[in-house]
Amino acid sequence: MNPIDTTTPAGVVLALLPEVVLSLAALGVLVVNAWRHETAEDSRLAGWLSLGGVGAAMVALLWLWGGGASSSGIPQMVALDGYRFFGDFVFLLAAAATIVFSLDYLEREGIRGPEYYTLILLATVGMMLLAGANDLIMVFLGLEVMSVAAYVLAAYDRRSPYSAEAGLKYFLIGAFASGFLLYGIALVYGVTGTTNLVMAGAFFGPGSLPVMASLGLSLLLIGFLFKVSVVPFHMWAPDVYDGAPTPVTGPMATGIKAAGFLALTRMLIVTFPAASPLWQPVLGILAIATMVAGNLMALSQRTVKRMLAYSSVAHAGYLLAAVWTGTLIGAASVLVYLLAYALTSLAAFGLLAALGRGGERDLTADDLAGLAKARPWTAAAFAIVLLSLLGFPGTFGFIGKWMILTSLVVAGQWLIPVVLVLASAVSAGYYLPVIMAMYMKPAREGAPDAPRVPRGAAVAIGAIVAAILVLGVWPPPLLSGTMEIASSLFERAFQ
């Protein structure tokens, strides 16, 4: 494929093809909903149409990616590199899984309104723009497109006071964080006169940052760390993940976090590589605090949903440790871990959505007792997913953690890897009881039959579990691939 000329309208559309296709699909679903929005059948139709839209966007993405799309050298607002394409791939997978999990869930919980699927598609477009953003304006717009759709999704179960409260908290904290991010953008713009990440990076050069730019970087970091729920900016996350409808919690805990981490990594490596003495200590300390606090708080949770919510905070800590390195292998391990975490966590929330009732806020480990006898496949899938979250050898989660550990040790750091290993050991204290309940405890007397996982969701979960196992046993192609993808970030960074 020739380099795309982004000065022409046709070139711009081509460069943004997956995003354009997905946006059009979202609008198309909205138009269909204008006529058909009353019965459960209509909602299902919207779901299948959205799934088709995600598929079309995936085809467009693979076509661009496989053709080795590159730009003609002018600084763009959205990057054309493997790093963006990898992110888009993860988001589209997450969107597809979310839609499949939602099909039966919305019907079962009686949540009306097929606009739900439009919002999922729009949130995905936002994630794609954020992860590909090569310009601070685009960072802001992508973040907002993603977040505004997510605020509505969190509050989507209108009859549930928990869902409404989750939406309110998410909205207030999210908008607050955007304010910080925006002020950071303004200050960086004030120093450099540009909002382009590459050009701003070239402006800063290898020297130390001016005071105003350091201030801008700190504000940008605050904004990002709120979004990816790093301690001490995490207090909203468990409440929001807990209150939101479970299929929505999946993309909130995976896609949104992934988009935030990808954009943060790109910004730090492309624009602020020389300022690493400034951001590295901060990120290192916060990574340690997040790993420790997230895991300890997850230990004290009673319900499975809240436990998974806190564990998602802990995983943000592992990812932040990889971002801390700021090296090539660090960026590659961010990619590997994001894929591992996104797949695993989506399956976990998908299973939870299928097993629980009424928002799943009451489901404890004891409620899963005897699941291995009643539903052996479901129990096996849940066990594998939890082991992967724990980082058990033989699963994809282990490869991700091992990759992060390698990148940290290569960077000559010892404290963070030790904390990471200890924190993972602590996390066994809340993942394993769920597995033990499923396999070793008898079902309680008079407990209702374990619900069956709907067929569509079962297929999606089966595919994810297979991927977790395959990539956990045979990761070399993925590892070398991500190294190559991450290097696309460094080629254009000012060193």
């Binding site: 505004v148 006071p161 409260e165 309110l168 002020y183 953008i185 540009t194």
Partner: protein, 98 residues
């Protein structure tokens, strides 16, 4: 417009907004404080645009459009909460915690 005073004033506005979010507990007031933060940033962009060209002014339009979308969604969510608890006070909306 002088750059120094304009930047100082917008920094002050931004700080007032942040303080308001941290101190007040009424969802509507919180939302107003967040809007204040965004508008302080707009002022910064306008002031800087004198030196750096039209890019800063362009950004202001994006911020205003996004703020409008946020307002629509935010007020709808506040309304949804009010229907459940007849209160927009964050002190009484504490179902989720722990």
């Amino acid at each position: 417009m002088l750059l120094g005073p304009a930047l100082a004033f917008s920094a002050l506005l931004f700080s007032i907004g942040v303080l308001g979010v941290l101190i007040r507990r009424n969802a509507i007031v919180l939302f107003m404080c967040i809007e204040l933060m965004l508008n302080a940033v707009n002022l910064t962009f306008i002031a800087l645009a004198q030196y750096h060209g039209v890019g800063g002014q362009l950004m202001v339009f994006f911020v205003m459009a996004v703020a409008a979308a946020e307002a629509a969604v935010g007020l709808a969510i506040i309304l949804a909460v009010f229907r459940h608890t007849t209160s927009v006070d964050l002190k009484t909306n504490t179902l989720l915690q722990g």
